[in-house]
């Protein structure tokens, strides 16, 4: 029980919040919020895992123990760095620097809302909460779990990284096309850290985190479309939630993947990752953020690395999305510099794509 609590606290609270502190300073005054702190920290945790997991997985067939140690140390270091930057900021500027993240500020914001606005926030939260509860109470069958969830179970229970055929248990060579997307290994990492079975982590635990986190992406996008305190923001969020619940028009849609395969990389790519890229594009191209967009650029690079972790083609889709938006923006704003910056953000994707084409 103690391992479960400590492991969960480290993976889902300490590491994301500590790491997220690295970004809040670079997102400008307006950019600081608990949601952004967590979102950026969680994505950085995944990106760090991907960068460490791929070389270990390629070099060490029995590398799960090493992977757990190296990733935990790296996250602890990032957490410490985040904590240190926050400490320095508070030392320099006093508690004002952390004001945006305080409970008092958040409570103040709620008090400033109209009753109608509060009612729609409650509706939005109920729509999201309904999906979270359903993800726990209901099981969704998907054939791909026989591959991806079993990869996590294998890494956790045998310590072997991607060298066992999930369907049968026979030994095999490294299947790089699938292995370059390291999400199943991250699930195994969570399983090792918490002592919770990998199937429970994937099917029951992850939706509890990923569903609210995806709505954090919608929230940030809504924040760029509507003014703070505008009643239309919770209305937007509630309707987006309803669109997900009724989005099962075919087996291919983002919404179907979101609520029926929440724990799979394809689903995280189609929902969380692409939504965060959309939000970051809105932030980067916002005139009001001129001079304070460094944090958003950095997070865009991070998200592009995370896209490679989700599915082998994720890296290409994320790069394509960023690239097309970058080209459109550069043309409309007549800025070569903008195009160059967007190109730089896609460099990790390019590296992964080359690896994929050469090795897989």
């Amino acid at each position: 029980m103690i391992q479960k609590v400590l492991g969960l606290f480290f993976v889902f609270v300490l590491a994301p919040c500590g790491t997220g502190l690295l970004f809040t300073a670079a997102m400008g005054e307006r950019g600081r919020s608990p949601v952004r702190l967590y979102l950026s920290g969680f994505l950085t945790e995944l990106a760090v895992f991907q960068l460490i997991a791929v070389p270990i997985m390629v070099r060490e067939p029995f590398g799960m123990d090493a992977l757990v140690i190296v990733v935990t140390l790296a996250l602890a270091l990032l957490m410490a760095a985040g904590g240190f930057t926050a400490f320095v900021r508070i030392k320099k500027r006093g508690t004002k620097a952390a004001a945006a993240l305080s409970v008092k500020t958040c409570a103040g914001r709620i008090r400033g809302l109209t009753w109608e606005c509060r009612l729609f926030w409650l509706i939005a939260l109920a729509v999201i909460g309904f999906q979270v509860v359903m993800s726990y109470l209901y099981a969704s069958f998907d054939g791909d779990d026989a591959y991806y969830v079993v990869q996590s179970v294998l890494a956790d229970q045998t310590g072997v990284l991607d060298r066992i055929r999930p369907y049968t248990g026979l030994s095999t060579d490294l299947d790089l096309r699938h292995a370059l997307a390291a999400l199943p290994l991250w699930i195994a990492y969570v399983s090792r850290m918490t002592g919770i079975h990998a199937a429970i982590v994937a099917h029951t635990l992850l939706p509890l985190v990923l569903i609210p986190l995806t709505y954090a992406g919608y929230l940030e996008i809504g924040g760029k479309l509507f003014a703070p305190g505008d009643v239309r923001l919770p209305v937007f969020l509630a309707l987006a939630g309803i669109a997900q619940i009724f989005g099962n028009i075919s087996i291919y849609t983002n919404a179907t993947f979101f609520l029926m395969r929440t724990w799979q990389g394809k689903s995280i790519l189609a929902n969380l990752v692409l939504l965060v890229i959309l939000w970051l594009l809105l932030e980067i191209l916002d005139e009001k953020n001129k001079g304070t967009a460094d944090g958003f650029w950095a997070l865009l690079v991070v998200v592009n690395i995370v896209s490679a972790m989700m599915t082998s083609m994720g890296t290409f889709l994320a790069a394509m999305f960023t690239g097309i938006a970058g080209i459109v923006a550069a043309c409309r704003q007549r800025s070569i510099k903008l195009l160059f910056c967007f190109g730089l953000c896609c460099l990790p994707n390019l590296v992964y794509l080359v690896l994929l084409l050469l090795l897989a």
Binding site: F120, T204, L239, T253, L274, L275
Partner: protein, 256 residues
């Protein structure tokens, strides 16, 4: 081009969301003034939508990963654009507008929790209780090597999600006819998929493939006697009988 249209039609399925998205996109392209919103949500979406319908673009995507072209449609922010357009359209009539939009989304979509593949979870693994009980029955002891077992089709997906200590001579690859490369190629599966299951023909193969256990659905008829074929029933769990093939010994782990 016809292939692309087919993919688009299949993506649209039984709902109207992509149509709502296209209407919303046109509406916002006409009315939206905010430059960043136009670039990110509207013009980028328009470019992606056009690219999706171009055959050379499909050829490029097929070169990179065949069979997943529909994923390009994931890049269209359908929910964000549709809902944003809706919220803009209702203006100040928030309450009535919200109810109308919610109703529109419900009527033009499909309720995800009504899907046949979603059912009440029996446990936190989200794996059928029967699978867990059967696996626990055949789980090797700490000092024993992993075991091999043959399961009926409906359990195959779940077994190894529960335990890596239970191996199978064939798995999901036998259940997907579209994967022509290995469909129907395993001799044990050729017998297991028939009704009735011929135990006289199956048991020698179980021994040849070193399978320690056989699980049969009681609703599926069999020919031949389990006992005469050396199969000992060790458990009856829900709809399934679990047999031990005594011709194959379970080995102890060798000390390192």
């Amino acid at each position: 081009m016809l292939e692309i249209l087919r993919i688009f039609r299949e993506y649209c399925g039984s709902g109207w969301y992509p149509v709502l998205f296209l209407i919303a996109l046109v509406y916002l392209l006409v009315t939206e003034k905010d430059r960043k919103v136009r670039i990110v949500l509207l013009e980028t979406s328009a470019v992606i939508a056009v690219l999706f319908f171009l055959p050379p673009f499909k050829m490029l995507m097929d070169f990179l990963d065949e069979g997943t072209y529909y994923r390009v449609l994931w890049l269209l922010p359908m929910t964000v654009v549709t809902v944003y357009a809706g919220v803009k359209l209702i203006g100040r009539h928030i309450r009535l507008g919200f109810a109308a939009l919610a109703l529109l989304l419900m009527l033009t979509g499909q309720y995800v929790y009504g899907n046949v593949n979603i059912s009440r979870a029996q446990n936190r693994y989200h794996i059928p209780n029967a699978v867990i009980a059967i696996c626990n029955e055949m789980m090797p002891a700490e000092d024993e090597e992993r075991v091999w077992a043959v399961f009926p089709d409906e359990l195959i997906h779940y077994v190894r999600q529960y335990s890596s200590k239970i191996q199978m001579p064939y798995g999901r690859e036998m259940l997907v006819p579209e994967w022509g490369w290995n469909w129907d190629t395993h001799p044990i599966y050729r017998i297991m998929r028939e009704q009735p299951v011929d135990l006289d023909a199956l048991t020698p193969l179980l021994t040849e493939y070193n399978c320690h256990y056989l699980v049969l659905n009681r609703a599926v008829p069999t020919t031949g006697s389990p006992e005469e074929n050396g199969l000992v029933k060790i458990a009856q769990i829900e709809a399934y009988d679990v047999y031990r093939n005594e011709s194959v010994p379970i080995f102890k782990k060798q000390a390192d």
